[in-house]
Structure formats: C-alpha cells, structure tokens
C-alpha cells in the first residue's frame, strides 16, 4: 500500500480537554496575580535573557498554563531571575515568583503530581 507519510509527524495541535492541568492550576494558586495575564508580551520584550538566547518567557508561561510542559524545564534554565519582567508587566503579574514556582513544579523530584 502506498505510504503517504501521514504518520511521520505528530499533529501540532494539542488537545486541551486531555491536557493535565494540575500543575497549571497549582501555579495559579501559588501565584494568583498570574490569572490577570493578558499575553501582551511585555515581559518578553524587556527580558534580559532574550537578548542572548531564544528564550521567550511569555510563550513559556502561556504554554505552561495550557498544560504543555515538555521542554519547559530546559527553557526556564535560561532565566536569570533578574526581575525586569516583573517591573514592566501592565497587569502586575509577579513573574519572578511565577518562574520560581514553574521551576519547582517541573523538578523531577517534585512528587506533587
């Protein structure tokens, strides 16, 4: 049978109804100000780490919020915790605390979930 190659790649779309949002929900509990994020990218714009790497903190936390945790732990290592993002966020999100909490939730030894 002809192989059309449809099985080679996984679909890029994710299934939100199957996503495991427990870590994301815990993050919102720990950092309630994150509920106010409107995804404006102000944090990314000013980020010190983005000058030297392809790190995009807005993309990282928005991806975390949708329960898509793969590769995020590696990404979050690029952050230097300088806190500039926290200074510019128009919604007053405590980004530094958000990042520390994401790191903790993604630590393999974290047995919470």
């Amino acid at each position: 049978m002809a192989d059309f190659g449809f099985k080679i790649k996984q679909t890029r779309s994710f299934n939100l109804s199957q996503a495991d949002l427990r870590k994301a929900d815990r993050l919102l509990e720990e950092v309630p100000s994150y509920r106010l994020c409107i995804g404006c990218g102000g944090c990314t714009a000013t980020c010190s780490a983005r000058q030297f790497t392809d790190f995009d903190i807005r993309k990282v936390h928005n991806t975390f919020r949708r329960g898509q945790y793969d590769k995020l732990a590696d990404e979050l290592r690029k952050c230097m915790l300088c806190g500039k993002c926290t200074l510019v966020c128009p919604r007053g999100v405590n980004l530094r605390s958000l990042i520390i909490n994401m790191r903790q939730l993604l630590t393999p030894s974290n047995e919470t979930f």
Partner: protein, 330 residues
Amino acid sequence: MTIAIIGAGPAGIEAASVLAKQYQVILFEREERPLCNIRDKAFLFPDFSSADELADKLESKLSHENITLKTATPVVSMQRTGEQWTLTTADGTTATFDAVLLATGYKVFDAHQKEELGYGIYKGVITSLEMEKMIKENNIRNNMNEIPKQIVFLQCVGSRDEKSGNHYCSKVCCVTAVKQAIEIKKQHPETDVYIFYMDLRMWGQGFEEMYREAQEKYGVSFVRGRISEAASTFDNRVQIKAEDTLMGNPMTMNSDLLVLMVGMCASEGTATLSKCAGIDGLYRFAQSLSPHTEDNLTAQPNLFLAGSCKRPMCIEDTIQDARAAALEIM
C-alpha cells in the same frame, strides 16, 4: 433658580445652552478660553470632521442672554449649606447657587511617569497630544526636522496599567491612534506606521470601519504586543522592544517617532472639587449615584455631573450626557 456650571468644555456648554432656555446660568472656566481640549485637536473620529468647526458651533451657543461665561476663573472649593452650594474662586470671591453642575472633565496621563518609555528623555518619544498638534499644523516631523520614515504608536500608556495605578481603559485612545495613523498616511503616504496594541477596542459606530480602512486603504501595520522599553539610537531615533505575540517572537525596531497614546485621567478640578464635595470616586474621578438611571446625580443634593469628570468619555457621549444632566436639573 440660579445655576452654576463648572467647566466650559463640551459638557458645560451643551448643558448651559439647554438650561438657558429657562434659567440664568453662570459658567466658570479655569482657562483663558473655553473648549481648549477640543481646539487642541485637528479632526474628530469617526467622521474626520474638523475639531475647530465643532468648537465654533458649541461656542456660538454661549451667546445667549441667560448665560454668563467667566473665563480664567477657576473654582477652588465648594461648600454646601442646606440645599445650596457656595463656590469659591481662585481670587477669593464667593457666590451661592441653587444647583451646581460639575463638568470639570479630564486631563491626559503624564507620560513622564512611564520612565522606561523614555518620554522627556529621548526627543523622538512624544505623546498623542503632540502628534495631534503636528497633524493639525500639517507639520509631522522627526527631531531632525525631516519627514519621518517610520512612526510607531503604543497603546494603553497610563491606562490598563497596574504600574500607573490605573486599571481602567481610557476608551478613546484606540480609535484615536487609528485616526492619527490615517491622518499621517494622508499627509505622508510613504511613511510607515505601526500600531502596537494589547487589544484594539473599536466599540463605537464607525470605529471598526476606520480600523479596516487603516489596513486596507492606508496600509497601517498592527502588531499585537506591548512595547516595554524604548532607547535612543546613535542617529537620534528611537529603538523599541516588544514581542510580536502572534509570531511568538521577541523583536526590536527603530523608528523616527514613538507616539505614546496617553490615557484620560481626572483633571485637577475634577479631583479637587469632587473630594471637596464628598463625591470622589475611583481614580480621583467624580462618583455618580448609579450608572444606569442616576448617572447625572450624586450623593449630594443639587450637585450634578456631566461628561468626563466621571470617567473617560468621547465627545459625542459627553454632549449627550450634558443634555441628560440639564434635564435632571430642570
């Protein structure tokens, strides 16, 4: 019945012209002439009609035998005695009235407060007020006095911003940026115009059509992302940093001008007098009794409100609100 109206902007004048059909009205204005905020503008959204023509039309309503206009006369305090109000002006004069209408309006947000955006530090960073003046004078220039190659707008400066302490949306700046972008393109089709937004709020009649026209006819570019830093380049232009959130990519860009769309805040008159009368509300604006049917009334007897002393409001709504306030007083 004697009536005082504080503020000779669109709200104060429209209310005065209605009330003058039956009553004597005294209109206090702190500036040398009425309607300064409208006269600062070139054209009005959504129909690009002339701001000066509207101002002239409104001003002509003042020539009525029952209206006395006192310019350069700021009211500095007000006291209630029973059902009446005594107003004190800057020169210490007092006068007592049966009803007072507060129409003290707004002022624009002071962009110096957003230091990271470089207003007052880099010459290429200006406010929407200064852009309006350039459009009006047909003199859109960068700080080297050349026609700008690029102009970047940033929405929500001093509005929707936890750091400025203003959570509210100023309502008019989205459509004003689109209006100014179109005006720039009319005067200089070769200038590239970018509008950086968090959300575009095209709520009024004709606004969405202006947005479409800006895209389709004038080629204005819209970037969904908040600029959070501006710096100067070696050639005196402005470098901005944002994320193009739709691409999911951080970006920088150089521009001749960065225009900050400054929001609407309570004017000094609004803040001082509403506090003095005990009707101060959120963000130093004046507080009406309820938003639906008692929006021109206050918790104080015979003290009424009209226009943007209550909240950000466009000119059309302000004029209608003033008529409603006049009916409440009658």
